[in-house]
Symmetry: C2
Subunit: 332 residues, 2 copies
Protein backbone atom coordinates (compact mmCIF):
# COMPACT_ATOMS: atom_id res chain seq x y z
CA UNK A 1 0.00 0.00 0.00
CA UNK A 2 1.45 3.36 -1.01
CA UNK A 3 2.07 5.90 1.73
CA UNK A 4 -0.10 8.98 1.94
CA UNK A 5 1.89 12.13 1.14
CA UNK A 6 1.55 14.79 3.83
CA UNK A 7 2.46 18.47 4.08
CA UNK A 8 2.43 20.31 7.41
CA UNK A 9 0.98 23.80 7.15
CA UNK A 10 1.45 25.98 10.25
CA UNK A 11 4.44 25.30 12.44
CA UNK A 12 3.47 26.52 15.89
CA UNK A 13 3.96 24.13 18.82
CA UNK A 14 1.13 21.77 17.81
CA UNK A 15 1.93 21.94 14.11
CA UNK A 16 5.59 21.10 14.70
CA UNK A 17 4.69 18.22 16.97
CA UNK A 18 2.21 16.88 14.44
CA UNK A 19 4.84 17.21 11.71
CA UNK A 20 7.30 15.25 13.83
CA UNK A 21 4.75 12.46 14.32
CA UNK A 22 3.89 12.39 10.62
CA UNK A 23 7.59 12.24 9.77
CA UNK A 24 8.07 9.26 12.08
CA UNK A 25 4.96 7.30 11.09
CA UNK A 26 5.68 4.40 8.81
CA UNK A 27 2.48 4.64 6.76
CA UNK A 28 2.86 8.37 5.98
CA UNK A 29 5.40 10.30 3.96
CA UNK A 30 5.97 13.86 5.10
CA UNK A 31 6.94 15.67 1.92
CA UNK A 32 6.87 19.33 2.87
CA UNK A 33 6.30 22.03 5.48
CA UNK A 34 4.82 25.49 5.08
CA UNK A 35 4.63 28.43 7.48
CA UNK A 36 3.81 31.99 6.55
CA UNK A 37 6.35 33.27 9.09
CA UNK A 38 9.34 34.37 6.93
CA UNK A 39 11.66 33.79 9.90
CA UNK A 40 11.06 30.04 9.58
CA UNK A 41 11.37 29.81 5.80
CA UNK A 42 14.54 28.16 4.52
CA UNK A 43 15.22 26.23 7.73
CA UNK A 44 15.21 22.46 7.85
CA UNK A 45 11.90 21.41 9.41
CA UNK A 46 13.85 19.14 11.77
CA UNK A 47 15.48 22.19 13.35
CA UNK A 48 12.11 22.75 15.06
CA UNK A 49 11.77 19.15 16.26
CA UNK A 50 12.55 18.04 19.79
CA UNK A 51 15.19 16.73 19.73
CA UNK A 52 16.34 18.60 16.64
CA UNK A 53 17.22 16.47 13.65
CA UNK A 54 17.69 16.84 9.92
CA UNK A 55 14.74 15.88 7.74
CA UNK A 56 15.83 17.26 4.38
CA UNK A 57 12.52 19.12 4.29
CA UNK A 58 12.97 22.86 3.85
CA UNK A 59 10.28 25.08 5.35
CA UNK A 60 8.59 27.20 2.70
CA UNK A 61 6.57 30.39 3.15
CA UNK A 62 4.43 30.18 0.01
CA UNK A 63 1.29 28.07 -0.18
CA UNK A 64 2.03 27.74 -3.90
CA UNK A 65 4.62 25.15 -2.96
CA UNK A 66 1.71 22.71 -2.78
CA UNK A 67 1.61 22.59 -6.58
CA UNK A 68 5.08 21.11 -6.58
CA UNK A 69 4.77 18.99 -3.42
CA UNK A 70 1.44 17.43 -4.49
CA UNK A 71 0.48 15.99 -1.11
CA UNK A 72 -2.61 13.87 -0.52
CA UNK A 73 -3.32 15.58 2.78
CA UNK A 74 -2.36 18.86 4.49
CA UNK A 75 -2.17 18.93 8.28
CA UNK A 76 -3.28 22.47 8.97
CA UNK A 77 -2.49 24.22 12.28
CA UNK A 78 -2.54 27.97 11.82
CA UNK A 79 -5.41 29.51 13.80
CA UNK A 80 -8.44 28.76 15.96
CA UNK A 81 -10.73 30.97 13.91
CA UNK A 82 -12.46 30.30 10.62
CA UNK A 83 -12.28 33.85 9.24
CA UNK A 84 -8.50 33.68 9.67
CA UNK A 85 -8.10 30.32 7.92
CA UNK A 86 -10.81 30.66 5.27
CA UNK A 87 -8.54 31.68 2.40
CA UNK A 88 -5.88 29.06 3.32
CA UNK A 89 -8.44 26.29 3.43
CA UNK A 90 -10.00 27.37 0.13
CA UNK A 91 -6.58 27.57 -1.53
CA UNK A 92 -5.71 24.07 -0.38
CA UNK A 93 -8.96 22.28 -1.10
CA UNK A 94 -9.37 23.88 -4.52
CA UNK A 95 -6.18 22.00 -5.39
CA UNK A 96 -7.96 18.74 -4.53
CA UNK A 97 -5.86 18.23 -1.41
CA UNK A 98 -7.55 16.89 1.73
CA UNK A 99 -7.20 18.85 4.98
CA UNK A 100 -7.03 17.80 8.62
CA UNK A 101 -7.20 21.04 10.58
CA UNK A 102 -6.77 21.96 14.23
CA UNK A 103 -8.96 25.07 13.73
CA UNK A 104 -11.36 24.82 16.64
CA UNK A 105 -14.22 26.59 14.90
CA UNK A 106 -14.14 24.00 12.10
CA UNK A 107 -15.46 21.36 14.51
CA UNK A 108 -19.00 22.58 13.74
CA UNK A 109 -18.24 24.92 10.87
CA UNK A 110 -21.69 26.35 10.29
CA UNK A 111 -22.31 27.20 13.96
CA UNK A 112 -20.66 30.59 13.92
CA UNK A 113 -19.71 30.96 10.25
CA UNK A 114 -22.38 29.44 8.00
CA UNK A 115 -21.36 31.36 4.89
CA UNK A 116 -17.68 30.47 5.24
CA UNK A 117 -18.68 26.86 5.85
CA UNK A 118 -20.80 26.84 2.71
CA UNK A 119 -18.02 28.23 0.55
CA UNK A 120 -15.49 25.74 1.94
CA UNK A 121 -17.90 22.86 1.37
CA UNK A 122 -18.53 24.02 -2.19
CA UNK A 123 -14.82 24.44 -2.94
CA UNK A 124 -14.00 21.07 -1.39
CA UNK A 125 -16.62 19.26 -3.44
CA UNK A 126 -15.59 21.07 -6.61
CA UNK A 127 -11.94 20.24 -6.01
CA UNK A 128 -12.55 16.70 -4.84
CA UNK A 129 -11.12 17.37 -1.36
CA UNK A 130 -12.24 16.47 2.14
CA UNK A 131 -11.91 19.00 4.98
CA UNK A 132 -12.10 18.00 8.66
CA UNK A 133 -11.59 20.00 11.85
CA UNK A 134 -10.57 17.95 14.86
CA UNK A 135 -8.47 17.91 18.01
CA UNK A 136 -8.59 16.78 21.63
CA UNK A 137 -10.73 19.66 22.84
CA UNK A 138 -12.80 20.43 20.94
CA UNK A 139 -12.98 17.27 18.89
CA UNK A 140 -12.64 14.41 21.35
CA UNK A 141 -12.62 14.74 25.13
CA UNK A 142 -15.80 16.77 25.75
CA UNK A 143 -17.82 15.97 22.65
CA UNK A 144 -16.81 13.06 20.38
CA UNK A 145 -16.26 10.74 23.35
CA UNK A 146 -19.73 11.53 24.66
CA UNK A 147 -21.13 10.68 21.24
CA UNK A 148 -19.17 7.42 20.96
CA UNK A 149 -20.08 6.39 24.51
CA UNK A 150 -23.72 6.93 23.64
CA UNK A 151 -23.51 3.99 21.24
CA UNK A 152 -24.23 1.62 24.11
CA UNK A 153 -27.23 3.40 25.52
CA UNK A 154 -30.66 4.35 24.33
CA UNK A 155 -32.62 7.58 24.69
CA UNK A 156 -30.07 9.93 26.26
CA UNK A 157 -31.61 12.42 28.68
CA UNK A 158 -28.56 14.36 29.82
CA UNK A 159 -24.87 14.68 28.97
CA UNK A 160 -22.20 15.91 31.33
CA UNK A 161 -18.49 16.05 30.60
CA UNK A 162 -15.81 17.13 33.03
CA UNK A 163 -12.26 17.93 31.96
CA UNK A 164 -9.58 18.91 34.47
CA UNK A 165 -6.18 19.92 33.11
CA UNK A 166 -3.19 20.94 35.22
CA UNK A 167 -1.98 23.80 33.03
CA UNK A 168 1.33 23.70 34.88
CA UNK A 169 2.24 20.57 32.94
CA UNK A 170 1.50 22.13 29.55
CA UNK A 171 3.37 24.31 27.09
CA UNK A 172 3.80 28.04 27.65
CA UNK A 173 1.21 29.16 25.05
CA UNK A 174 -1.41 27.07 26.84
CA UNK A 175 -0.47 28.62 30.18
CA UNK A 176 -0.74 32.06 28.61
CA UNK A 177 -4.01 31.14 26.93
CA UNK A 178 -5.62 30.44 30.29
CA UNK A 179 -4.17 33.60 31.86
CA UNK A 180 -1.78 31.94 34.30
CA UNK A 181 0.06 34.63 36.24
CA UNK A 182 -2.29 37.48 35.28
CA UNK A 183 -3.96 39.83 37.70
CA UNK A 184 -7.74 39.66 37.75
CA UNK A 185 -7.85 43.05 35.98
CA UNK A 186 -5.68 41.74 33.18
CA UNK A 187 -7.92 38.69 33.01
CA UNK A 188 -11.06 40.81 32.71
CA UNK A 189 -9.53 42.86 29.90
CA UNK A 190 -8.52 39.71 28.01
CA UNK A 191 -11.87 38.06 28.55
CA UNK A 192 -13.61 41.10 27.06
CA UNK A 193 -11.87 40.43 23.72
CA UNK A 194 -13.87 37.20 23.30
CA UNK A 195 -10.80 35.43 21.91
CA UNK A 196 -9.26 34.42 25.20
CA UNK A 197 -9.18 31.12 27.03
CA UNK A 198 -10.34 27.84 25.59
CA UNK A 199 -11.73 28.14 22.06
CA UNK A 200 -14.44 25.80 20.92
CA UNK A 201 -16.77 25.29 23.86
CA UNK A 202 -19.87 26.32 21.94
CA UNK A 203 -18.78 24.04 19.12
CA UNK A 204 -18.54 21.11 21.56
CA UNK A 205 -22.02 21.78 22.91
CA UNK A 206 -23.36 22.04 19.37
CA UNK A 207 -21.65 18.83 18.26
CA UNK A 208 -23.15 16.85 21.13
CA UNK A 209 -26.58 18.40 20.58
CA UNK A 210 -26.60 17.65 16.88
CA UNK A 211 -25.09 14.20 17.16
CA UNK A 212 -27.63 13.03 19.70
CA UNK A 213 -30.54 15.04 18.36
CA UNK A 214 -31.02 17.26 21.40
CA UNK A 215 -33.24 20.19 20.64
CA UNK A 216 -31.69 23.19 22.42
CA UNK A 217 -32.62 26.84 22.27
CA UNK A 218 -29.57 28.17 24.10
CA UNK A 219 -25.86 27.39 23.74
CA UNK A 220 -24.09 29.48 26.36
CA UNK A 221 -20.81 29.46 28.19
CA UNK A 222 -19.36 31.04 31.30
CA UNK A 223 -15.68 31.84 31.75
CA UNK A 224 -14.26 32.60 35.18
CA UNK A 225 -10.73 32.93 36.52
CA UNK A 226 -9.45 30.40 39.03
CA UNK A 227 -7.23 32.17 41.56
CA UNK A 228 -4.12 30.58 43.04
CA UNK A 229 -4.54 29.73 46.70
CA UNK A 230 -0.76 29.51 47.04
CA UNK A 231 2.23 30.40 44.90
CA UNK A 232 2.77 28.01 41.98
CA UNK A 233 5.80 27.73 39.72
CA UNK A 234 5.76 26.14 36.27
CA UNK A 235 8.80 25.60 34.03
CA UNK A 236 7.83 28.87 32.34
CA UNK A 237 6.27 31.22 34.89
CA UNK A 238 5.27 31.87 38.47
CA UNK A 239 1.70 32.34 39.67
CA UNK A 240 1.59 34.39 42.89
CA UNK A 241 -0.92 33.62 45.58
CA UNK A 242 -4.16 35.39 44.63
CA UNK A 243 -3.20 35.79 40.97
CA UNK A 244 -4.98 34.02 38.14
CA UNK A 245 -3.94 30.35 37.89
CA UNK A 246 -6.21 29.61 34.92
CA UNK A 247 -9.81 29.22 33.89
CA UNK A 248 -13.06 27.47 34.57
CA UNK A 249 -15.13 27.39 31.40
CA UNK A 250 -18.59 25.85 31.46
CA UNK A 251 -20.69 25.30 28.36
CA UNK A 252 -24.40 24.61 28.60
CA UNK A 253 -26.93 23.54 26.03
CA UNK A 254 -30.46 24.21 27.27
CA UNK A 255 -34.06 23.98 26.23
CA UNK A 256 -36.09 26.46 28.23
CA UNK A 257 -35.00 26.13 31.82
CA UNK A 258 -33.61 22.59 31.39
CA UNK A 259 -29.86 22.16 30.96
CA UNK A 260 -29.44 19.09 28.71
CA UNK A 261 -25.71 19.30 28.02
CA UNK A 262 -23.16 20.53 30.53
CA UNK A 263 -19.45 20.67 29.66
CA UNK A 264 -17.28 21.66 32.61
CA UNK A 265 -13.66 22.53 31.82
CA UNK A 266 -11.02 23.49 34.38
CA UNK A 267 -7.55 24.39 33.10
CA UNK A 268 -5.28 25.98 35.63
CA UNK A 269 -1.84 25.69 37.13
CA UNK A 270 -1.99 23.21 40.01
CA UNK A 271 -5.41 21.70 39.17
CA UNK A 272 -5.64 18.48 41.20
CA UNK A 273 -6.69 15.07 39.83
CA UNK A 274 -6.45 15.73 36.08
CA UNK A 275 -9.03 13.61 34.28
CA UNK A 276 -11.72 13.43 31.64
CA UNK A 277 -15.19 12.23 32.50
CA UNK A 278 -18.24 11.53 30.38
CA UNK A 279 -21.58 10.91 32.07
CA UNK A 280 -24.68 10.02 30.09
CA UNK A 281 -28.07 9.64 31.69
CA UNK A 282 -29.97 7.17 29.56
CA UNK A 283 -31.08 3.56 29.38
CA UNK A 284 -28.63 2.40 30.65
CA UNK A 285 -26.45 5.16 32.12
CA UNK A 286 -22.86 5.36 30.88
CA UNK A 287 -20.07 6.68 33.12
CA UNK A 288 -16.63 6.90 31.63
CA UNK A 289 -13.35 8.19 33.07
CA UNK A 290 -9.99 8.76 31.44
CA UNK A 291 -7.70 8.39 34.42
CA UNK A 292 -5.05 11.10 34.50
CA UNK A 293 -6.84 12.90 31.69
CA UNK A 294 -6.08 13.06 28.01
CA UNK A 295 -2.66 14.66 27.81
CA UNK A 296 -3.22 17.82 25.83
CA UNK A 297 -0.33 18.67 23.53
CA UNK A 298 0.93 15.28 22.42
CA UNK A 299 -2.64 14.01 22.25
CA UNK A 300 -3.70 16.91 20.02
CA UNK A 301 -0.81 16.30 17.65
CA UNK A 302 -1.64 12.59 17.70
CA UNK A 303 -5.32 12.91 16.86
CA UNK A 304 -4.51 15.08 13.85
CA UNK A 305 -2.14 12.45 12.50
CA UNK A 306 -4.52 9.66 13.51
CA UNK A 307 -7.29 11.23 11.38
CA UNK A 308 -5.33 11.46 8.11
CA UNK A 309 -6.16 8.05 6.64
CA UNK A 310 -9.87 8.40 7.43
CA UNK A 311 -10.04 11.84 5.83
CA UNK A 312 -8.20 10.54 2.78
CA UNK A 313 -10.78 7.74 2.48
CA UNK A 314 -13.85 9.96 2.91
CA UNK A 315 -15.96 11.47 0.15
CA UNK A 316 -15.32 15.12 -0.76
CA UNK A 317 -16.78 18.02 1.20
CA UNK A 318 -16.55 19.79 4.54
CA UNK A 319 -17.03 17.03 7.12
CA UNK A 320 -17.25 16.74 10.88
CA UNK A 321 -15.90 14.05 13.17
CA UNK A 322 -19.38 12.49 13.07
CA UNK A 323 -19.16 11.84 9.33
CA UNK A 324 -15.88 9.99 8.91
CA UNK A 325 -14.57 6.70 10.28
CA UNK A 326 -13.10 7.14 13.77
CA UNK A 327 -9.46 8.20 14.12
CA UNK A 328 -6.98 5.64 15.34
CA UNK A 329 -3.32 5.26 16.15
CA UNK A 330 -0.72 2.88 14.77
CA UNK A 331 1.36 0.30 16.58
CA UNK A 332 5.06 0.96 17.05
CA UNK B 1 -36.09 13.95 6.75
CA UNK B 2 -37.77 10.66 5.95
CA UNK B 3 -37.51 7.87 8.49
CA UNK B 4 -35.43 4.80 7.72
CA UNK B 5 -37.64 1.73 7.34
CA UNK B 6 -36.48 -1.16 9.51
CA UNK B 7 -37.31 -4.87 9.70
CA UNK B 8 -36.22 -7.00 12.66
CA UNK B 9 -34.98 -10.44 11.63
CA UNK B 10 -34.45 -12.89 14.49
CA UNK B 11 -36.56 -12.46 17.60
CA UNK B 12 -34.53 -13.97 20.41
CA UNK B 13 -33.98 -11.86 23.55
CA UNK B 14 -31.60 -9.38 21.88
CA UNK B 15 -33.58 -9.23 18.65
CA UNK B 16 -36.83 -8.49 20.48
CA UNK B 17 -35.19 -5.83 22.58
CA UNK B 18 -33.65 -4.23 19.51
CA UNK B 19 -37.04 -4.35 17.77
CA UNK B 20 -38.63 -2.63 20.73
CA UNK B 21 -36.02 0.14 20.62
CA UNK B 22 -36.42 0.56 16.87
CA UNK B 23 -40.19 0.73 17.28
CA UNK B 24 -39.84 3.48 19.89
CA UNK B 25 -37.21 5.56 18.12
CA UNK B 26 -38.57 8.65 16.48
CA UNK B 27 -36.22 8.65 13.49
CA UNK B 28 -36.91 5.01 12.52
CA UNK B 29 -40.00 3.24 11.28
CA UNK B 30 -40.22 -0.43 12.21
CA UNK B 31 -42.22 -1.96 9.38
CA UNK B 32 -41.89 -5.70 9.93
CA UNK B 33 -40.54 -8.61 11.95
CA UNK B 34 -39.32 -12.00 10.79
CA UNK B 35 -38.41 -15.14 12.72
CA UNK B 36 -37.98 -18.59 11.26
CA UNK B 37 -39.59 -20.13 14.36
CA UNK B 38 -43.13 -21.06 13.22
CA UNK B 39 -44.35 -20.80 16.81
CA UNK B 40 -43.81 -17.02 16.65
CA UNK B 41 -45.34 -16.45 13.22
CA UNK B 42 -48.72 -14.75 13.21
CA UNK B 43 -48.29 -13.11 16.60
CA UNK B 44 -48.18 -9.37 17.05
CA UNK B 45 -44.53 -8.42 17.55
CA UNK B 46 -45.55 -6.41 20.60
CA UNK B 47 -46.63 -9.60 22.35
CA UNK B 48 -42.91 -10.26 22.81
CA UNK B 49 -42.11 -6.77 24.14
CA UNK B 50 -41.68 -6.01 27.81
CA UNK B 51 -44.17 -4.74 28.73
CA UNK B 52 -46.31 -6.35 26.04
CA UNK B 53 -48.09 -3.96 23.72
CA UNK B 54 -49.76 -3.99 20.32
CA UNK B 55 -47.68 -2.81 17.39
CA UNK B 56 -49.83 -3.88 14.48
CA UNK B 57 -46.76 -5.69 13.14
CA UNK B 58 -47.39 -9.38 12.52
CA UNK B 59 -44.40 -11.68 12.86
CA UNK B 60 -43.68 -13.53 9.63
CA UNK B 61 -41.68 -16.73 9.10
CA UNK B 62 -40.68 -16.19 5.47
CA UNK B 63 -37.75 -14.02 4.46
CA UNK B 64 -39.64 -13.38 1.22
CA UNK B 65 -41.77 -10.91 3.18
CA UNK B 66 -38.91 -8.46 2.62
CA UNK B 67 -40.07 -8.00 -0.97
CA UNK B 68 -43.32 -6.56 0.29
CA UNK B 69 -41.96 -4.75 3.37
CA UNK B 70 -39.14 -3.06 1.40
CA UNK B 71 -37.10 -1.92 4.41
CA UNK B 72 -33.97 0.21 4.14
CA UNK B 73 -32.24 -1.80 6.85
CA UNK B 74 -32.64 -5.22 8.47
CA UNK B 75 -31.57 -5.64 12.09
CA UNK B 76 -30.35 -9.22 12.06
CA UNK B 77 -30.04 -11.28 15.28
CA UNK B 78 -30.20 -14.97 14.49
CA UNK B 79 -26.87 -16.64 15.28
CA UNK B 80 -23.28 -16.03 16.38
CA UNK B 81 -21.82 -18.01 13.50
CA UNK B 82 -21.25 -17.03 9.89
CA UNK B 83 -21.94 -20.43 8.34
CA UNK B 84 -25.37 -20.35 10.00
CA UNK B 85 -26.26 -16.86 8.79
CA UNK B 86 -24.59 -16.92 5.37
CA UNK B 87 -27.70 -17.68 3.33
CA UNK B 88 -29.85 -15.23 5.29
CA UNK B 89 -27.35 -12.43 4.81
CA UNK B 90 -26.98 -13.20 1.10
CA UNK B 91 -30.76 -13.29 0.63
CA UNK B 92 -31.14 -9.90 2.33
CA UNK B 93 -28.29 -8.04 0.74
CA UNK B 94 -29.05 -9.30 -2.75
CA UNK B 95 -32.32 -7.41 -2.34
CA UNK B 96 -30.31 -4.21 -1.83
CA UNK B 97 -31.26 -4.02 1.83
CA UNK B 98 -28.61 -2.94 4.35
CA UNK B 99 -27.91 -5.18 7.36
CA UNK B 100 -26.86 -4.48 10.92
CA UNK B 101 -26.10 -7.88 12.42
CA UNK B 102 -25.32 -9.13 15.90
CA UNK B 103 -23.47 -12.14 14.43
CA UNK B 104 -20.23 -12.13 16.42
CA UNK B 105 -18.14 -13.69 13.67
CA UNK B 106 -19.09 -10.85 11.31
CA UNK B 107 -17.01 -8.42 13.39
CA UNK B 108 -13.95 -9.53 11.38
CA UNK B 109 -15.64 -11.61 8.72
CA UNK B 110 -12.59 -12.92 6.92
CA UNK B 111 -10.81 -14.08 10.09
CA UNK B 112 -12.44 -17.49 10.28
CA UNK B 113 -14.54 -17.53 7.11
CA UNK B 114 -12.73 -15.78 4.26
CA UNK B 115 -14.75 -17.41 1.48
CA UNK B 116 -18.10 -16.63 3.09
CA UNK B 117 -16.89 -13.08 3.67
CA UNK B 118 -15.92 -12.73 0.03
CA UNK B 119 -19.28 -13.96 -1.22
CA UNK B 120 -21.18 -11.65 1.14
CA UNK B 121 -19.03 -8.69 0.08
CA UNK B 122 -19.63 -9.51 -3.57
CA UNK B 123 -23.38 -9.92 -3.12
CA UNK B 124 -23.59 -6.72 -1.08
CA UNK B 125 -21.77 -4.69 -3.70
CA UNK B 126 -23.81 -6.22 -6.51
CA UNK B 127 -27.06 -5.51 -4.67
CA UNK B 128 -26.02 -2.07 -3.44
CA UNK B 129 -26.25 -3.08 0.23
CA UNK B 130 -24.03 -2.48 3.24
CA UNK B 131 -23.46 -5.26 5.79
CA UNK B 132 -22.05 -4.60 9.28
CA UNK B 133 -21.52 -6.89 12.26
CA UNK B 134 -21.46 -5.13 15.62
CA UNK B 135 -22.41 -5.42 19.28
CA UNK B 136 -21.09 -4.61 22.74
CA UNK B 137 -18.72 -7.56 22.92
CA UNK B 138 -17.40 -8.13 20.39
CA UNK B 139 -17.86 -4.78 18.69
CA UNK B 140 -17.33 -2.16 21.37
CA UNK B 141 -16.11 -2.85 24.91
CA UNK B 142 -12.94 -4.86 24.25
CA UNK B 143 -12.03 -3.77 20.74
CA UNK B 144 -13.69 -0.68 19.21
CA UNK B 145 -13.20 1.35 22.40
CA UNK B 146 -9.49 0.51 22.42
CA UNK B 147 -9.28 1.69 18.82
CA UNK B 148 -11.18 4.93 19.50
CA UNK B 149 -9.14 5.64 22.63
CA UNK B 150 -5.98 5.24 20.57
CA UNK B 151 -6.94 8.39 18.65
CA UNK B 152 -5.27 10.50 21.32
CA UNK B 153 -1.99 8.64 21.51
CA UNK B 154 0.84 7.85 19.18
CA UNK B 155 2.75 4.63 18.58
CA UNK B 156 0.82 2.12 20.67
CA UNK B 157 3.04 -0.57 22.21
CA UNK B 158 0.50 -2.64 24.11
CA UNK B 159 -3.27 -2.94 24.50
CA UNK B 160 -5.03 -4.42 27.48
CA UNK B 161 -8.78 -4.55 28.00
CA UNK B 162 -10.54 -5.88 31.07
CA UNK B 163 -14.25 -6.63 31.16
CA UNK B 164 -15.96 -7.88 34.30
CA UNK B 165 -19.64 -8.82 34.06
CA UNK B 166 -21.78 -10.06 36.92
CA UNK B 167 -23.69 -12.74 35.01
CA UNK B 168 -26.20 -12.86 37.86
CA UNK B 169 -27.64 -9.56 36.63
CA UNK B 170 -28.11 -10.82 33.06
CA UNK B 171 -30.73 -12.78 31.17
CA UNK B 172 -31.01 -16.56 31.49
CA UNK B 173 -29.44 -17.38 28.08
CA UNK B 174 -26.33 -15.43 29.09
CA UNK B 175 -26.14 -17.28 32.39
CA UNK B 176 -26.47 -20.57 30.53
CA UNK B 177 -23.92 -19.46 27.94
CA UNK B 178 -21.28 -19.03 30.64
CA UNK B 179 -22.17 -22.34 32.30
CA UNK B 180 -23.60 -20.94 35.54
CA UNK B 181 -24.73 -23.83 37.74
CA UNK B 182 -22.88 -26.54 35.79
CA UNK B 183 -20.54 -29.07 37.30
CA UNK B 184 -16.95 -28.85 36.13
CA UNK B 185 -17.47 -32.07 34.12
CA UNK B 186 -20.43 -30.55 32.32
CA UNK B 187 -18.33 -27.46 31.70
CA UNK B 188 -15.49 -29.51 30.20
CA UNK B 189 -17.91 -31.31 27.87
CA UNK B 190 -19.43 -28.04 26.72
CA UNK B 191 -16.06 -26.39 26.27
CA UNK B 192 -14.96 -29.24 24.01
CA UNK B 193 -17.70 -28.29 21.51
CA UNK B 194 -15.90 -25.03 20.75
CA UNK B 195 -19.22 -23.17 20.60
CA UNK B 196 -19.57 -22.47 24.28
CA UNK B 197 -18.98 -19.37 26.34
CA UNK B 198 -18.31 -15.96 24.89
CA UNK B 199 -18.18 -15.92 21.09
CA UNK B 200 -15.94 -13.43 19.33
CA UNK B 201 -12.76 -13.16 21.38
CA UNK B 202 -10.47 -13.97 18.46
CA UNK B 203 -12.40 -11.46 16.37
CA UNK B 204 -11.79 -8.78 19.03
CA UNK B 205 -8.06 -9.51 19.08
CA UNK B 206 -7.96 -9.42 15.30
CA UNK B 207 -9.90 -6.16 15.10
CA UNK B 208 -7.50 -4.42 17.48
CA UNK B 209 -4.47 -5.86 15.71
CA UNK B 210 -5.65 -4.77 12.28
CA UNK B 211 -6.94 -1.38 13.36
CA UNK B 212 -3.68 -0.43 15.02
CA UNK B 213 -1.41 -2.26 12.62
CA UNK B 214 0.01 -4.74 15.11
CA UNK B 215 1.83 -7.55 13.41
CA UNK B 216 0.88 -10.72 15.31
CA UNK B 217 1.65 -14.34 14.54
CA UNK B 218 -0.66 -15.87 17.13
CA UNK B 219 -4.27 -15.11 18.09
CA UNK B 220 -5.10 -17.45 20.94
CA UNK B 221 -7.59 -17.67 23.74
CA UNK B 222 -7.97 -19.53 26.99
CA UNK B 223 -11.30 -20.42 28.56
CA UNK B 224 -11.52 -21.49 32.20
CA UNK B 225 -14.43 -22.00 34.58
CA UNK B 226 -14.77 -19.73 37.60
CA UNK B 227 -16.06 -21.75 40.54
CA UNK B 228 -18.47 -20.35 43.11
CA UNK B 229 -16.85 -19.81 46.49
CA UNK B 230 -20.30 -19.69 48.07
CA UNK B 231 -23.85 -20.44 46.97
CA UNK B 232 -25.28 -17.80 44.62
CA UNK B 233 -28.89 -17.38 43.51
CA UNK B 234 -29.96 -15.48 40.42
CA UNK B 235 -33.57 -14.77 39.36
CA UNK B 236 -33.27 -17.88 37.16
CA UNK B 237 -30.99 -20.42 38.83
CA UNK B 238 -28.86 -21.37 41.79
CA UNK B 239 -25.11 -21.88 41.71
CA UNK B 240 -23.99 -24.22 44.49
CA UNK B 241 -20.71 -23.66 46.27
CA UNK B 242 -18.00 -25.30 44.14
CA UNK B 243 -20.12 -25.36 40.99
CA UNK B 244 -19.35 -23.32 37.90
CA UNK B 245 -20.34 -19.66 38.34
CA UNK B 246 -19.18 -18.62 34.88
CA UNK B 247 -16.11 -18.08 32.75
CA UNK B 248 -12.78 -16.35 32.48
CA UNK B 249 -11.87 -15.97 28.82
CA UNK B 250 -8.55 -14.39 27.89
CA UNK B 251 -7.58 -13.53 24.34
CA UNK B 252 -3.99 -12.81 23.40
CA UNK B 253 -2.44 -11.47 20.25
CA UNK B 254 1.29 -12.20 20.20
CA UNK B 255 4.35 -11.83 18.05
CA UNK B 256 6.89 -14.46 19.02
CA UNK B 257 7.03 -14.46 22.81
CA UNK B 258 5.66 -10.92 23.17
CA UNK B 259 1.98 -10.49 24.04
CA UNK B 260 0.89 -7.24 22.35
CA UNK B 261 -2.86 -7.44 22.90
CA UNK B 262 -4.47 -8.92 26.00
CA UNK B 263 -8.25 -9.04 26.38
CA UNK B 264 -9.35 -10.33 29.78
CA UNK B 265 -13.03 -11.17 30.14
CA UNK B 266 -14.71 -12.41 33.33
CA UNK B 267 -18.42 -13.25 33.19
CA UNK B 268 -19.75 -15.08 36.17
CA UNK B 269 -22.50 -14.98 38.74
CA UNK B 270 -21.37 -12.78 41.61
CA UNK B 271 -18.39 -11.15 39.85
CA UNK B 272 -17.47 -8.12 41.95
CA UNK B 273 -16.88 -4.59 40.64
CA UNK B 274 -18.34 -4.90 37.14
CA UNK B 275 -16.47 -2.59 34.79
CA UNK B 276 -14.80 -2.14 31.44
CA UNK B 277 -11.21 -0.97 31.22
CA UNK B 278 -9.02 -0.03 28.29
CA UNK B 279 -5.31 0.49 28.83
CA UNK B 280 -3.02 1.60 26.03
CA UNK B 281 0.72 1.88 26.47
CA UNK B 282 1.86 4.55 24.05
CA UNK B 283 2.90 8.17 23.85
CA UNK B 284 1.04 9.18 25.95
CA UNK B 285 -0.59 6.26 27.81
CA UNK B 286 -4.39 6.13 27.80
CA UNK B 287 -6.31 4.58 30.70
CA UNK B 288 -10.05 4.44 30.41
CA UNK B 289 -12.70 2.98 32.72
CA UNK B 290 -16.42 2.51 32.23
CA UNK B 291 -17.60 2.58 35.83
CA UNK B 292 -20.11 -0.18 36.53
CA UNK B 293 -19.37 -1.69 33.14
CA UNK B 294 -21.31 -1.52 29.91
CA UNK B 295 -24.64 -3.15 30.69
CA UNK B 296 -24.80 -6.10 28.34
CA UNK B 297 -28.29 -6.79 27.05
CA UNK B 298 -29.81 -3.34 26.75
CA UNK B 299 -26.46 -2.00 25.52
CA UNK B 300 -26.24 -4.67 22.81
CA UNK B 301 -29.74 -3.90 21.58
CA UNK B 302 -28.90 -0.19 21.71
CA UNK B 303 -25.69 -0.38 19.67
CA UNK B 304 -27.48 -2.28 16.90
CA UNK B 305 -30.13 0.42 16.64
CA UNK B 306 -27.50 3.15 17.08
CA UNK B 307 -25.61 1.83 14.03
CA UNK B 308 -28.53 1.87 11.57
CA UNK B 309 -28.17 5.40 10.23
CA UNK B 310 -24.42 5.04 9.73
CA UNK B 311 -24.83 1.76 7.84
CA UNK B 312 -27.56 3.30 5.70
CA UNK B 313 -25.17 6.17 4.84
CA UNK B 314 -22.16 3.96 4.04
CA UNK B 315 -21.09 2.74 0.61
CA UNK B 316 -22.06 -0.84 -0.38
CA UNK B 317 -20.07 -3.88 0.72
CA UNK B 318 -19.23 -5.94 3.78
CA UNK B 319 -17.88 -3.42 6.31
CA UNK B 320 -16.45 -3.47 9.80
CA UNK B 321 -16.93 -1.01 12.64
CA UNK B 322 -13.65 0.59 11.54
CA UNK B 323 -15.07 1.58 8.16
CA UNK B 324 -18.28 3.40 9.00
CA UNK B 325 -19.01 6.54 11.03
CA UNK B 326 -19.26 5.75 14.74
CA UNK B 327 -22.60 4.61 16.17
CA UNK B 328 -24.52 7.02 18.36
CA UNK B 329 -27.69 7.28 20.35
CA UNK B 330 -30.57 9.72 20.13
CA UNK B 331 -31.89 12.10 22.74
CA UNK B 332 -35.25 11.37 24.33
Amino acid sequence: MSKLRVVSFGLGPIGVRAAQLAHARRNLELVGAIDVDPAKAGKDLGDLFQPATKTGITIEADIGALDRLRPDVVVHCTSSFMPVVEQQVLDICRRGIDIVSSTEELLVPDLQHPSIAASIDQAAKAGGATVLGTGVNPGFAMDFMAVVASAVTYSVQHVRCVRVVDAGTRRLPLQQKVGAGMTTDEFEAKRATGRFGHIGMRESVALVARALGFEIDRNEQSLEPVLATEERKTPFLTVSKGAVAGIRNIGRGSLGSRVLIELDLSMYVGAPDPRDEVHLRGDPDVDLIFQGGIAGDSATAAILINSIAQVAAASPGLKTVLDVAPPRSTAV
